[in-house]
């Protein structure tokens, strides 16, 4: 069992002598029992989790039909303990992104992912969820769900056959088998960061890219504005406050932490002021 966990590194890799001795001591004295205990806990924990993975009941497109077939009479996903499709993300262990991810839908998918309790996994089913698939060039298609949330297993195919999805599930189980409470990210201290929810503007906006987009806007504006214009003489404090206000969606501030918004243009400022008066 210890070999699978990856934390007992082979001795040959350690060339530094002190390091070697420390490793030896760690392995033979004291820590051994704790380690063994943790391994045991890991094993039981992993066995329990891998054998009752509850998927989220959530289908996107054609691949969802194959997902349903996998769950149905002939392929019978319950042989793997994963037959309990939960309509609520709060009760689900993993999400099968089964189908084309569109820009209009991706905020919802990310939100659902954030609502799932940890530990959580994602299987990206089919060409579309993996990279856009046949519809990649479309204007409303996201080229792969991994642009927004982390993916554990990719299942290729268009659509993947039920057998392929089952293989994907087994791969996920193997991945879970190799996890340890020592390294799994949800057992570390500190909060696990939520995936940022993209916003729908004139096109979809990845919140992490806002500073870049803003910089680009500034550049374009600077290029079009006449030299010596009003670009510099703006009170920063008001503009930041307004920016924070306009960027609230569903009560969540979407401006990334620690970044102050650049100043507003003069016309916009005048607009905001007149709005305040009325």
């Amino acid at each position: 069992m210890a070999e699978t966990n990856g934390h007992t590194s082979p001795i040959s890799l350690i060339d530094d002598e002190d390091q070697f001795i420390i490793e030896q001591v760690k392995q033979s004295v004291l820590v051994t029992t704790v380690d063994k205990l943790i391994d045991l806990v890991d094993n039981i924990n992993n066995w329990g989790r891998r054998s009752s993975l509850w998927p989220m009941q959530f289908g996107l497109a054609c691949c969802a039909i194959e997902m349903i077939c996998t769950a149905a009479s002939r392929y019978d996903i319950s042989r793997f303990g994963a037959e309990l499709f939960r309509p609520s993300p709060r009760q689900a262990d993993f999400m099968i992104v089964s189908g084309t991810v569109t820009k209009k839908m991706v905020p919802q998918i990310v939100r659902l992912y954030n609502q799932m309790p940890e530990p959580k996994y994602v299987i990206s089913m089919g060409a579309c969820a993996t990279g856009g698939g046949p519809f990649k060039e479309g204007y409303n298609v996201v080229s792969g769900i991994d642009k927004y949330i982390p993916v554990d297993v990719y299942v290729p195919g268009c659509p993947p056959t039920p057998q392929a999805l089952l293989h994907g599930l087994m791969t996920l189980q193997a991945k879970i088998d190799n996890e340890s409470i020592r390294t799994a990210r949800w057992y570390r201290s500190g909060e696990v960061e939520e995936a940022p929810i993209p916003i729908l503007g004139p096109d979809i906006i990845d919140v992490r890219q806002i500073p870049d987009i803003r910089a680009e806007a500034m550049r374009v504006r600077a290029a079009t504005q006449t030299v010596g214009g009003t670009a510099t003489d703006r009170p920063d404090s008001t503009s930041t406050a307004t920016a924070a206000k306009t960027l609230k969606v569903d009560g969540h501030a979407v401006s990334p932490k620690g970044k102050t918004a650049p100043p507003l243009s003069a016309e916009r400022l005048a607009q905001v002021k007149s709005l305040k008066k009325t």
């Binding site: 996107l60 054609c62 149905a72 839908m105 906006i205 870049d212 504006r221 918004a261």
Partner: protein, 582 residues
């Protein structure tokens, strides 16, 4: 004098129609080279009313638009359900700068969602439309994607095959070509801080009038169902306004699976669209293939050999059975019989999928039909297996469903009298398929305008007169039996011979012109409107998606019922989101 003749004028005889229209409305209409009636904008509503009332053009099958270099053209395909004839292609022109056309919703309510789609995709506004806003894209999206000058973020070249993919060119990953590394583009100088996020109002609405009058009323509030909801059959959303527990309004919200089928289709070459049609209504890929092949064959004028015709029919009818099994299984799922009936239904569907897999190579995405025939002949094992299925198993299984479900107390209680759709409304809202026939309208494209070789088979057009959830369920059950009947006849008559007609060509060129091909798909009338400019790519490619158009009527059906009934009504309409959103 002219009006007396009107009853004898047939819609499909364009010259006679033109004469009638011009006699009543001087200089209102002309005929164009494609044999369609071009009506002046200011007379459009009057002419439409006349066509509907006097020439019995009661069914507005499809509304779409084409972007020509000098004008926009809005195209209406009209049929007569009462006289079982048609089509009449009516057109209206709109200028490029400020395209406005009068709305047809007051004449044919079925135009509602379709006009919204035209507005969303091409930016043509419809004067007098009750609810003209974006439908497939979100409010605030930049640009009208189906206009010819719209370039998507991953734009490479105008037409496929792309030169950059040829041996000489160097193909890059699309992500590396575009500025943001993603499939996005923003208008120049776009600043996210100045963006106003357009949001739909979700707050409770108190009926102010009632408050003032001092009447006691429960608050109205909005329930959002979907897009992630187990009963919406995919990513479909309904905004339901409730008064207490009663539904006062329901608005379907779609586009969560809008995959840009038509834009991609216009970049593709003709044959490249075939596998994309599989992904429209992904439960009935064979039926979609057939519809598209028929539309293009109309333009190409190729003969389809006998054997291929029969095999097409066999595949289409197998698809119908598979779809109806699926639909009934999941309707029961929606009624609360969680998964047991659908497990039985899916078992039968799997057997049909096996047949598809051995013939076409894929369970779901068959990509089987070609222009002028089919891609591959039946394998040896097909006929014995299919024979066994059709003669020994299907009818037994359909009867089994019938016995267990049809008299079930819950099915009766939740199906009878729920979501009643009167026949005139069914026609006016352009519903099709089991929804239309469940309201007692005996209209089936296979019978009204036989395509392929459907005129050779003996089958019934199944109808029920009640128009409720139960009637639609029962129509599906009956249709499966009829399909088994057709399959028996087709298998008995199946001749030997070639499976592809026409000349072998490396690249398919389709003669100039436009065509509208329609088939009776399991979910209703599926139409393909194609415009060719004589090149290797379609100039315009539009899908008349029956699931989408059937949703026109959803709001009306649900009014007055409770939320639990919405689930049953939606299940009985049987939508598939791949086709709704395309």
């Amino acid at each position: 004098m002219v009006i007396a003749e009107a009853t004898t004028v047939k819609l499909s005889e364009i010259d006679a129609v033109l004469k009638q229209v011009n006699a009543l409305f001087p200089n209102a209409a002309t005929k164009d080279t494609n044999g369609s009636l071009v009506v002046a904008n200011d007379k459009l509503v009057d002419v439409a009313n006349y066509l509907k009332d006097d020439l019995a053009a009661d069914y507005c099958s499809s509304v779409t638009s084409v972007d020509y270099p000098d004008r926009f053209e809005v195209v209406y395909h009209l049929y007569s359900v009462s006289k079982q004839e048609g089509p009449l292609v009516m057109k209206a022109h709109a200028d490029k700068g400020n395209p406005i056309v009068p709305s047809m919703v007051s004449v044919w309510a079925g135009a509602n969602l379709q006009e919204r789609e035209v507005y969303d995709m091409m930016g043509i506004r419809f004067a007098g439309h009750p609810n003209l806003k974006r439908v497939l894209m979100w409010e605030g999206f930049e640009g009208y994607p189906l206009r010819k000058d719209y370039k998507e973020p991953y734009y490479e070249e105008e037409k496929k095959p792309y030169d950059s993919r040829h041996p000489g060119g160097h193909h890059q990953r699309a992500e590396e070509r575009v500025p943001w590394g993603k499939n996005v583009q923003y208008p120049a100088g776009f600043d996210p801080d100045e963006m106003t996020v357009i949001k739909t109002e979700n707050l409770p609405l108190v009926d102010a009038l009632d408050l003032r009058a001092g009447r006691f009323k429960t608050d109205r509030f909005i329930v959002n169902m979907g897009p992630q909801h187990p009963s919406t059959h995919g990513v479909f959303q309904m905004r339901i306004t409730l008064d207490g527990e009663t539904i006062v309004d329901l608005e379907p919200v779609m586009g969560y699976l809008h995959r840009n089928h038509e834009k991609i289709g216009e970049r593709n070459m003709w044959l490249m669209n075939m596998p994309f049609t599989d992904r429209l209504d992904y439960i009935c890929s064979m039926g979609n293939n057939l519809g598209y092949a028929l539309a293009v064959e109309k333009l190409m004028g190729v003969e389809v050999p006998e054997r291929a015709q029969y095999i097409r029919v066999i595949m289409a009818e197998l698809t119908r059975i598979a779809n109806h099994f699926w639909a009934i299984g999941f309707l029961l799922n929606d009624l609360g019989a969680f998964f047991t009936p659908s497990l039985y239904a899916i078992e039968e569907r799997e057997l049909i999928l096996d047949l598809f897999e051995m013939t076409a190579g894929s369970r779901m995405m068959c990509n089987y039909m070609r222009f002028g025939g089919i891609a591959a002949d039946l394998p040896e094992e097909f006929l014995p297996l299919c024979h066994d299925l059709v003669y020994n198993r299907m009818n037994r299984k359909i009867d089994e469903m019938d016995t267990y479900l049809s008299q079930n107390e819950i099915v009766l209680a939740r199906g009878k009298g729920i979501g009643i759709l009167p026949p005139d409304m069914a026609i006016n809202y352009s519903t099709a398929g089991p929804v239309l026939r469940g309201s007692g309208v005996p209209y089936d494209v296979r019978r009204a305008q036989p395509y392929s070789i459907y005129d050779r088979f003996d089958f019934k057009v199944c109808t029920r007169s009640e128009g409720d959830v139960y009637a639609r369920y029962a129509v599906r059950l009956d249709e499966m039996r009829e399909s088994v009947n057709i399959l028996k006849q087709a298998m008995n008559q199946l001749p030997a011979g070639p499976i592809m007609g026409g000349r072998k060509a490396w690249q398919i060129r389709v003669p100039k012109g436009e065509a509208y091909g329609r088939v009776e798909n399991p979910k209703g009338e599926l139409g393909f409107f194609v415009v060719s400019d004589g090149s290797a790519n379609p100039y315009r490619y539009h899908v008349r998606a029956t699931s989408y158009i059937n949703l026109n009527v959803l709001g009306e059906l649900c009014k007055g019922h409770t939320v639990a009934d919405v689930v049953a009504i939606l299940g009985s309409i049987d939508i598939v989101l791949g086709e709704v959103d395309r």
